[in-house]
Symmetry: C2
Subunit: 158 residues, 2 copies
């Protein structure tokens, strides 16, 4: 393990233990969370990328497409197709940026906002289930660590 | 929002704020982490499901296929195809369970262990990058909360 950084040897996965390995735990948790929400988006005739785009736009409207791809954690090619279909359903609209004609911004419509509001109770329930019996102080400390981790590894400034 | 559980109204996403919403932060973090590791698995001619299966088996060998699907966070149909290909490459072998002939267990081979060991430095680097400048005590508290969250939402006993 001489090609890992730092001045001390990185322990091996079997030494850390799967149940103490944060990326494993986060993959397990988000796998479950995303699968739970997929059932709900399916019944609404939407997909995870589409609902994530609506969720993000409901709180930060008018993003550039490349910004929306980062926030929604959806690859640009997948997002473009999703945006086509959401625009056909009149859940959002695209418009050229006012200063850069080549850039496109995405805006949620009232119908799009309504679709997200219909989905939110399921998201809120899944979120509450995660933190059941976990004190607020612990949740706040947890979120603070998540913010630091995202700050450590993100390649965009947002 | 009267159809959410609990005796207090669940705040809306815009009130919580995207940057304070733990599932959003975890999706962003794991999106980045998984994308980083995908570059490495690509160069090794493997996929994320295949590498996850090898990673899990390297520390908990001889799992039933349905257990491996949960641990590796891979859907059963995707995992079955991945196992076919990993067995063809002699990176693992499948054998009937000793007590239940209809159940199949999966065992990693020395070549499979070698493939995972070749990938581990990249995983270790991505893991270290996450926790850069985060004290050990905070990492331990974070992992402890992750374990509680997984305990809250998992549908399997492991």
């Amino acid at each position: 393990m001489t090609d890992t950084p730092g001045n001390s040897r990185t322990p091996r996965l079997g030494e850390i233990g799967l149940d103490n390995f944060a990326p494993y735990l986060m993959n397990r948790i988000m796998g479950r969370y995303n699968a739970d929400l997929r059932q709900q988006t399916d019944t609404m005739g939407l997909t995870t990328p589409k609902m994530r785009a609506l969720a993000v736009l409901s709180v930060v409207d008018g993003l550039l497409i490349r910004e929306l791809a980062v926030y929604a954690v959806v690859e640009l090619s997948t997002l473009s197709r999703a945006l086509d279909q959401l625009e056909t359903k009149a859940l959002l609209r695209r418009a050229p940026d006012s200063t850069d004609n080549r850039a496109t911004r995405v805006y949620i419509t009232p119908a799009g906002r309504e679709a997200f509001e219909a989905h939110w109770p399921a998201m809120a329930r899944a979120y509450e289930a995660m933190f059941e019996n976990i004190p607020d102080s612990e949740r706040h400390a947890f979120v603070s660590t998540l913010q630091k981790i995202l700050g450590n590894i993100r390649i965009h400034d947002f």
